[in-house]
């Protein structure tokens, strides 16, 4: 069905391909950007939540490109984030490079790692690929622990750009916002480009795509490389945000959270990773606030306060997937349809 307002016709291909195709969307997007830019005003000391959302949304963007648009499952996304974070830490701490150079260099390093990890995807598919990436996750954790010793704790200097050192949450937020919007817009544009269409052809049926003349080796490894470099950006930002890296920040649990974000947000939507990251971060932060409150009301909960968070996370995930397998993006779509047709059902 068409969701366009009456009288607003697409008369050129440029209009047809536009990401924000109606005035409502354009105005809404500007409002969203303005809201995000002014976020420190209305969020106050809770700005750290938005920082976490932004970092994970960038990482999840890569996973959406890989899983949602190319159909390759990865359970090792946090490993790429770890590679990006440690690369960035080494470049700024060990080699004294400025952050503005370390970020693209770390991204390049993870891109190369992603290409290497993506090579087996030609032979391994579906579930087996998920397991192979799971193995990659564990091997990376092991390698980093052995390369740095102990739990891999290394301090990271704060990011500084042109003599301006980023120390507070608020300063970091503006750095993050620039990177976040840029990478999100890049992903949205990539999806409608020739490369994006090719990736979707690979997702739908890789052999059929090959018959059509698509070079599977190139595009599958490219998808892995792109996903990895997004995770690398997220990792590099995370390194300069948390300022102390340990391997415990990039465990298999983090990889699972990434997959959860992508699935919750909606796999084949460019808004999906951002919505998913928002839901997952808000959920885990919200549970952190709610569980102590519950314990103070019902003291018998004291012993199970920590596991309660895990249980609630699991239940929410399952509930959401049973209720709407298409994710939050699909919920929005349904809401929009409802409003368009209201008060009639069709």
């Amino acid at each position: 069905m068409s969701d366009r307002p009456a009288g607003d016709f697409k008369t050129t291909y440029v209009q047809d391909m536009a990401i924000l195709d109606t005035r409502f969307y354009r105005v809404g997007f500007v409002c969203l950007l303005a809201g995000l830019a002014l976020a420190p005003l209305w969020l106050g000391r809770f700005i750290f939540v938005l920082n976490a959302i932004g970092i994970f949304a960038i990482g999840a963007c890569g996973l959406t490109l890989l899983t949602g648009f190319t159909g390759q499952i990865s359970l090792g996304h946090a490993a790429f984030m770890a590679i990006g974070a440690y690369a960035s830490a080494l470049l700024t701490q060990g080699w004294r490079l400025p952050f503005i150079l370390a970020l693209p260099l770390a991204t390049t390093i993870t891109f190369v790692c992603g290409i290497v990890v993506g090579l087996p995807s030609l032979r391994i598919k579906g579930l087996y690929l998920a397991i192979a990436t799971l193995a990659f996750q564990f091997l990376t954790e092991y390698a980093i622990i052995h390369a740095t010793g102990g739990i891999g704790a290394i301090p990271v200097p704060p990011a500084s750009i042109a003599g301006w050192t980023i120390r507070t949450e608020r300063q970091f937020y503006y750095l993050l916002l620039v990177v976040w919007v840029t990478s999100a817009v890049f992903a949205a544009n990539l999806v409608r480009s020739r490369i994006g269409l090719t990736l979707m052809a690979v997702r739908d049926r890789d052999y059929a795509a090959q018959v059509l003349g698509i070079n599977l080796l190139f595009y599958k490894t490219l998808a892995f490389g792109l996903a990895a470099s997004y995770a690398g950006i997220a990792g590099s930002l995370w390194a300069h945000y948390s300022r102390l890296l340990t391997t415990e920040q990039f465990t298999i649990g983090q990889s699972i959270d990434y997959v959860a974000m992508v699935v919750i947000g909606g796999l084949t939507s460019i808004w999906g990773p951002h919505l998913g990251a928002t839901v997952v971060v808000l959920l885990s932060q919200g549970l952190k606030i709610i569980t102590p409150m519950l314990v103070s009301i019902i003291p018998a909960f004291g012993k199970i306060a920590t596991p309660l968070r895990e249980i609630a996370f699991g239940v929410t995930l399952i509930g959401l997937l049973i209720w709407e397998p298409g994710g939050v993006a699909m919920l929005f779509k349904k809401l929009k349809r409802l409003l368009n047709l209201w008060p009639f059902a069709y």
Binding site: Y128, I256, I311
Partner: protein, 297 residues
């Protein structure tokens, strides 16, 4: 690497491996008939161990084992009915996420009820060592190896000859066709979950007898997954042999590297299972005994 070390590692590896094999059996049972990889299986295994230990406080050990298996089967039915059935036909990734979320719930429940300390059975098996060809082996190891062998035969006969087993194989092969020919997919899925859950509980009980159960042992489930991949995910003999192979490789190769510390690779024993996964997947993506899936356009 002396011959004695090798032989010792072989026997002890089989003892460890038979527990991996029993857990991998759960992966294989479920995958064989539903094409779902249950990543919460490690947690189900531990839950089985915890429940059996809790029950032995009240009833004698054999009754506790039977009760645990019954409860595990019921839990399997419940999981299928409440969680998996509404998601029938959803893409692979959603199903993986749901089983992972299920793992979170089970782990949270276990930690909430039993806390973080390791629980062990009261002495129910004769303690000490069994000598196999002059090599000492833990009694529990011999016990679990025997259990693995028995279960292998039982499930092989079940899938080969019983009507329900054939229906389950049919459903695994091609769900739509099987359904058209009168196989009740719901029943097949429910049975598969019950079997897998019960097989996991057996693994959990043996693990409890051997090491004691602790929720941090969830990694055992992942090593068993390596075993399943090695043997081929949809093959029952594959799961058993894969488990034994991972056990032996881990004990012999991992033990050798760890004792001699080559290039500072300490702790290599815990990671070798994943190296094996990667190598096997690159050479034979469908495992040693798995069915090769031929893709046609």
């Amino acid at each position: 690497m002396t011959a004695e070390f090798l032989l010792n590692g072989l026997v002890n590896g089989i003892a460890v491996g038979s527990i991996y094999a029993l857990i991998a059996l759960g992966f294989a049972l479920l995958y064989k008939s539903t094409k779902i990889l249950n990543l919460a299986h490690g947690e189900l295994v531990l839950l089985g161990g915890y429940v059996a230990i809790a029950l032995t406080q009240v009833v004698p050990f054999p009754i506790a084992v039977v009760l645990t298996l019954g409860l595990a089967a019921l839990l399997g039915f419940a999981i299928e009915r409440v969680i998996m059935r509404p998601l029938f036909g959803q893409p692979l990734l959603s199903l993986i996420i749901v089983t992972l979320a299920l793992g979170y719930i089970i782990r949270g429940t276990m930690v909430g009820i039993w806390g973080g300390s390791t629980r062990t059975f009261p002495a129910v098996l004769p303690a000490g060592l069994v000598y196999i060809a002059g090599i000492p082996m833990q009694t529990v190891g011999a016990f679990s190896a025997a259990t693995a062998a028995v279960l292998l035969v039982v499930f092989w006969l079940f899938f080969r000859y019983s009507l329900a087993g054939i229906a389950m194989r049919a459903a695994a092969n091609e769900q739509l066709t099987a359904s058209t020919l009168g196989v009740s997919l719901r029943r097949v899925f429910a049975y598969a979950w019950a079997f897998a859950s019960a097989a996991g509980a057996i693994g959990g009980i043996l693990l409890g007898l051997w090491l004691g159960v602790n929720f941090a042992l969830g990694a055992v489930g992942l090593k068993a997954l390596a075993a399943g991949i090695l043997g081929g995910l949809d093959s029952i003999p594959g799961a058993i042999l894969g488990g034994l192979a991972i056990g032996v490789i881990e004990t012999v190769v991992g033990g050798y590297i760890d004792t001699n510390v080559i290039y500072g690779l300490y702790g290599f024993k815990d990671i070798i299972a994943f190296v094996v996964i990667l190598l096997v997947l690159l050479v034979r993506p469908y495992g040693l005994f798995g069915t090769e899936h031929i893709e046609r356009l």
